[in-house]
C-alpha cells in the first residue's frame, strides 16, 4: 500500500498548497498537567480554514491531550484557544460541537444493537424526524462518497463502514473543523483511499481537518501542514511534502543522541533460547491486529527490543509468546522445545517469564494482596508456594518481602492490595516478581511505561544484568530512548509484521521511524 501511496504522491497527487484564507483556530500556550507530568507544555498551534493539518509525534508526545482540549474533553491548565478570532472556553464536547468542532475517534462509540440512523440520532442535539434524518444521511453520505444505508444494524457492519458512520455523524453537524485520530489504522488501503478523497473534498469546501497519524507517507500525501510534538512541546512545523519520511521521523523522535549505555556489550551470542518461526495468527476482534509470518531468534546473553507504535500487534505477539493465545507448536520454541500450543504454566516451568503491558488486571489482580499476586504467576514453578493443593501463605509472604526489598517497592503498609500501589511501584513489583526467579527467557511488554526515571533505570539495569547472566530477554517497547539504552538488537513491528532485527549500534532513530511508518511491512514482505 505504501508503495502505491508514494508513487501517487510523486506523480503529483491531489494535494494543493496550504490555504491562507483565514485563521480558524489558534491555540496559544496551551498547558495541561497530569500529576508530575506536563502532557502539554505551552503548545502553540494555528489552523487555517480549508487545510488538512497533521499532528505528529510519538506515543505519549501529547497529541491526544491536545485534541481532547480542542474537543472539550479536557480542560487546559493554562493558555487559551482562539476560535475565529475570539477567545473561547470549550468545557465539554457539546460546546465544541456547537462551535463547529467535530471529532472522529480511533475507537468508535457506536451502539452495536442499533441502526445507523438511530446511532446518529443519539448524537445529535436535535435529531428531529427519523425519516427526514435517514434521508439526510443518505444524501450527505452519497454526496461525500461515503454511502451508508441508514437502516443497517451496526453489529452487521465492517469496521470501515462503522468509521463512515462516525464521519457522517460529524458531517451532519456541518463542522468547520474535524479532528481525526488515526483514522486509517483500522482501514484497508482501498477504504483509506476513499477517506482521503473525502477529506480533500471537505478541505476544498473550507473545512479544516486536524489529522493525527503515524503513517508518514499518508501525511505527506494529503496534509498541507504539519505540527510536530515531542514530550508535550511543539518542536517544529513544516510542509510535509517538502520533507522525507525519514526527516519527519527524526523530528518526531528527536535526533539528539542520548548517552547510550549498553553496559558491557553483549558477549558472543550464545545459543538461541527463544525462537519464533513463521508465527502467524488471525485478528481475534475488529480492533486486534493480525500477526503475519513473524520470525525472530533471541540468543542467550542479549536483549532484543521490538519498537513500534501502539496497536501494531505488540499485545498479540506477547500473548502468543506467553501462551495466552495458542498457535501451532513450532511457531514458538523455548530452549529447543516447541511450545506454541502449550499453556503459560508449562512455559513458566521451562524457565520462561512474562511481564504484560497492563499491570492491573493482567499482570496483577487489583483486589489481591501482593503476596497473592506472587502466587498468581509462580504457583507452578517450584517455588514452594503450593504443596498438595494447598497454598503456603507464609512462603508467599516471604517472597513478597524479598521482591519488595530487592526492587524497592514502596507501600504504605505491609502486603497491601495491588490496586493501592502507584503505577511505578506496581511495575517494580510485577517485573521484580519475574526477575526474582532468574528466568532463562524473559519477555517484557512496556517495562517502564509510566514509571519515574529512577525506577525505570533500576528496571532497565536489572534487564541488562539478567541478559548478561545468560538469559534471553525480549523487550517490547514504544519508548525509543529505552530501546536504544538497553537493546543489543532492534526490530520494528508494524501492522503485525516484524522487521529483521538489526544491530543496535548501527541502527538509527530515523531508520526506526521509517520502519514504524510502514517500512517494516515492506521489509518483511520482501524477505
Amino acid at each position: 500500500m505504501t508503495d502505491v501511496l508514494t508513487r501517487r504522491h510523486k506523480a503529483g497527487g491531489a494535494r494543493s498548497e496550504r490555504p491562507t484564507t483565514g485563521n480558524l483556530l489558534h491555540a496559544r500556550g496551551l498547558t495541561r498537567r497530569f500529576g508530575d507530568i506536563l502532557a502539554n507544555d505551552r503548545v502553540d498551534l494555528g489552523l487555517n480554514k480549508g487545510e488538512i493539518h497533521a499532528l505528529l509525534g510519538e506515543n505519549g508526545a501529547g497529541k491526544s491531550t491536545l485534541v481532547k482540549m480542542f474537543y472539550g474533553a479536557l480542560e487546559p491548565d493554562g493558555g487559551e484557544i482562539v476560535w475565529q478570532g475570539k477567545p473561547v472556553v470549550i468545557d465539554n464536547p457539546a460546546s465544541a460541537r456547537a462551535l463547529g468542532i467535530g471529532m472522529v475517534f480511533q475507537h468508535f462509540s457506536l451502539f452495536e444493537a442499533l441502526t445507523v440512523v438511530e446511532n446518529i440520532a443519539l448524537a445529535l442535539p436535535d435529531p428531529g424526524n427519523m425519516k427526514a434524518l435517514a434521508a439526510r444521511i443518505t444524501d450527505v453520505s452519497n454526496d461525500y462518497g461515503l454511502p451508508l444505508n441508514p437502516q443497517d444494524v451496526v453489529a452487521d457492519l465492517p469496521v470501515g463502514i462503522r468509521q463512515r458512520i462516525e464521519i457522517v455523524r460529524c458531517l451532519l453537524q456541518e463542522p468547520q473543523l474535524i479532528i481525526m485520530d488515526e483514522p486509517t489504522s483500522v482501514l484497508t488501503p482501498q477504504e483509506a483511499d476513499r477517506l482521503f478523497l473525502t477529506l480533500q473534498r471537505l478541505a476544498g469546501e473550507g473545512c479544516a481537518v486536524l489529522y493525527i497519524s503515524h503513517r508518514l507517507e499518508e501525511v505527506q500525501r494529503i496534509c498541507h501542514h504539519a505540527t510536530i510534538l515531542r514530550h508535550g512541546k511543539v518542536v517544529s512545523e513544516c510542509d510535509p511534502s517538502l520533507e522525507t519520511a525519514s526527516s519527519l521521523a527524526s523530528m518526531m523522535v528527536g535526533s539528539e543522541v542520548v548517552g547510550v549505555n549498553h553496559g558491557a556489550m553483549a558477549p558472543e551470542p550464545g545459543p538461541v533460547r527463544l525462537k519464533l518461526s513463521a508465527l502467524g495468527a488471525p485478528a481475534a476482534t475488529p480492533f486486534a491486529t493480525r500477526l503475519n509470518n513473524i520470525d525472530l531468534e533471541v540468543h542467550s546473553g542479549e536483549i532484543v527490543a521490538i519498537a513500534g507504535v501502539a496497536g501494531n500487534g505488540q499485545g498479540e505477539l506477547f500473548d502468543a509468546i506467553s501462551g495466552e493465545m495458542r498457535v501451532d507448536p513450532g511457531m514458538v520454541v523455548l530452549d529447543g522445545a516447541p511450545c506454541g500450543n502449550r499453556d503459560v504454566t508449562w512455559r513458566r516451568r521451562r524457565n520462561a517469564a512474562f511481564v504484560p503491558e497492563e499491570r492491573l488486571g493482567h499482570g496483577a489482580v487489583p483486589g489481591l494482596k501482593l503476596s497473592g499476586n506472587i502466587v498468581l504467576t509462580r504457583h507452578g514453578t517450584g517455588d514452594g508456594l503450593v504443596g498438595s493443593g494447598f497454598v503456603s501463605s507464609a512462603r508467599a509472604a516471604e517472597l513478597e518481602q524479598k521482591v519488595k526489598t530487592t526492587y524497592d517497592v514502596r507501600m504504605s503498609h505491609d502486603d497491601p492490595e495491588a490496586r493501592s500501589l502507584s503505577g511505578g511501584n506496581l511495575q517494580k513489583f510485577v517485573v521484580g516478581r519475574e526477575l526474582d526467579r532468574n528466568p532463562g527467557v524473559l519477555v517484557v511488554n512496556q517495562p517502564t511505561w509510566g514509571v519515574d526515571a529512577g525506577a525505570a533505570a533500576l528496571i532497565r539495569q536489572a534487564l541488562i544484568d539478567l541478559a548478561r547472566s545468560g538469559s534471553a530477554v525480549l523487550v517490547i517497547s514504544q519508548d525509543l530512548d529505552e530501546i536504544f539504552e538497553i537493546a543489543d538488537r532492534i526490530a520494528v513491528i508494524s501492522r503485525g509484521h516484524l522487521s529483521v532485527p538489526e544491530d543496535a549500534r548501527s541502527m538509527t532513530r530515523e531508520r526506526v521511524g521509517i520502519l514504524m511508518a510502514g517500512g517494516a511491512e515492506k521489509k518483511a514482505g520482501r524477505a
Binding site: 460546546s95 495466552e324 499482570g363 502466587v375 498468581l376 492490595e417
Partner: protein, 363 residues
C-alpha cells in the same frame, strides 16, 4: 446536598463485616413499615416474624430443616458466583437431583440394603451435577448466556417432576393422589431430635467448613477468586476459564442435587409435585447475604430459614399474607447488594457547590 461515592484504595475489612448487619437493619425497618401498612402493629409483627420462632424447640428444629438445603445450595452457588458463573438454576438442579436420588426407592423399592442410602445420595449429586453441566457446556461451547439457560432448565426439571409423580412414578396404592410411594426405612435418612431434623443438617455444616478451607487455603480456591475478579490475570496465571466454569457448575449442581435427595429422603420421605418452596432461588440470597463465604452462608441460611417460619407464624397469628416472607427476602437481597457498595466505596456528602462557569454554560 449531593451524595458522592468515592472509591477506596483497598477493600474495607470493617465494611465487609458491617454491610450485612446494616442490610439486616434496613430490612427490619422496611419490614416494620410493611407491617404498619398492612394494618398491624409493626413491633408485634417483627417480634412474631423474627423472634418468636426462636423461642420454641419445634420451630427451631424446623428452621434448621429449612436452612439445611439453603446452606448446601448456597455454598455451591458461592463457588459459581465467585468465579463469575451466574448459575440461577439451582432450583432445577435441586429437583433433578431429587428425581435421580429417588430412582432407587421408587423404581426398585425392594432394593433395601445398607448401600441403598449412599447410592441414592450419589445418584442425587450426580443428577444435579449433570443438570448443571448443561448450561455450563452451552456457555463454554457456544458462549450461551448461562443465566438464561440455567433458569430455563428450572422449569424443565419441575415439569418433569410433575409428570413423573402424576404418571409413571405415582404410588400404585395411593388413591390416585399425585405423589410417589413412601420411601422404605433403608432409603430414609436417620433423624436427629424429635422433629423432622435429619443428619442432613450436620452434612451441610461439614460441606460449608470444607469449602471454606478450600476457598481460603488451596490453589483451587485461589483460582476461583482470581478468575472471578480478573479473568485476564487468571489466564495469565495459567488458569482455564472454561474448565473452571465446568467445575463450578458441576460442584454447585452436585450440592443442589445432594440437597434435593436429602430433602425428599429425610424430610418429605416421598416425591410430591412440589418438593421445594423455592430453595434454589432463596439460596441466591443466602449466598450473597453470606458474602459468598461458606461460613457466612451458614449464618445467612439460618436467617433466611427463619423468614420462612416467621412468614408462617405471622399468617397464622396475625392474618398477614405469607407472601410477606417473599417480600422480606427480596428486600434483604436488595439491601445486601446495595450495602456491598460500601466495601469498595465510601460515601461523601457534598453541600451544594457554587456553580462554576462551566456548568452555567452547560445549562
Amino acid at each position: 446536598m449531593r451524595i458522592e461515592l468515592v472509591k477506596r484504595k483497598e477493600h474495607s475489612r470493617k465494611m465487609a463485616l458491617l454491610s450485612p448487619v446494616i442490610a439486616v437493619g434496613l430490612t427490619l425497618a422496611a419490614a416494620a413499615i410493611l407491617f404498619a401498612l398492612s394494618g398491624t402493629d409493626p413491633l408485634q409483627g417483627l417480634y412474631k416474624f423474627f423472634i418468636e420462632p426462636l423461642t420454641d424447640s419445634w420451630s427451631v428444629q424446623e428452621i434448621v430443616v429449612k436452612a439445611t438445603p439453603l446452606v448446601l445450595i448456597a455454598c455451591g452457588l458461592a463457588i459459581c458466583y465467585l468465579s463469575n458463573n451466574w448459575n440461577i438454576g439451582a432450583e432445577g438442579q435441586f429437583i433433578f437431583g431429587a428425581l435421580c436420588g429417588s430412582f432407587l426407592p421408587i423404581v426398585l423399592p425392594d432394593f433395601e440394603t445398607s448401600l441403598t442410602l449412599p447410592l441414592m445420595l450419589v445418584f442425587g449429586a450426580l443428577g444435579g451435577a449433570v443438570w448443571a453441566l448443561i448450561p455450563a457446556f452451552l456457555k463454554t461451547r457456544f458462549n450461551a448466556n448461562e443465566i438464561l439457560t440455567s433458569l430455563m432448565l428450572v422449569y424443565v426439571a419441575s415439569l418433569l417432576l410433575d409428570y413423573l409423580v402424576r404418571g409413571p412414578w405415582r404410588d400404585p396404592g395411593g388413591y390416585n393422589f399425585p405423589e410417589s410411594r413412601l420411601f422404605s426405612d433403608a432409603a430414609t435418612l436417620p433423624l436427629i431430635g424429635d422433629g423432622r431434623m435429619s443428619i442432613a443438617a450436620p452434612v451441610a455444616v461439614l460441606v460449608a467448613i470444607v469449602l471454606a478451607i478450600v476457598l481460603a487455603r488451596t490453589l483451587k480456591g485461589f483460582e476461583i477468586r482470581v478468575m472471578g475478579e480478573s479473568p485476564r490475570a487468571g489466564a495469565f496465571a495459567g488458569f482455564s476459564a472454561k474448565r473452571l466454569t465446568l467445575f463450578a457448575f458441576a460442584l454447585a449442581g452436585g450440592l443442589a442435587g445432594l440437597a434435593g435427595t436429602m430433602e425428599v429422603s429425610g424430610s418429605l420421605n416421598q416425591l410430591l409435585p412440589t418438593i421445594s418452596p423455592g430453595y434454589g432461588f432463596t439460596a441466591i440470597i443466602v449466598a450473597f447475604l453470606g458474602r459468598l463465604n461458606p461460613v457466612g452462608i451458614l449464618v445467612a441460611g439460618f436467617v433466611l430459614a427463619l423468614s420462612y417460619i416467621g412468614g408462617e407464624a405471622v399468617q397464622a397469628s396475625m392474618g398477614v399474607s405469607d407472601k410477606i416472607a417473599s417480600v422480606i427476602q427480596g428486600l434483604l437481597l436488595f439491601f445486601v447488594l446495595a450495602c456491598d457498595t460500601l466495601i469498595l466505596y465510601r460515601i461523601r456528602l457534598h453541600s451544594r457547590r457554587v456553580p462554576a462557569t462551566g456548568e452555567v454554560s452547560r445549562a
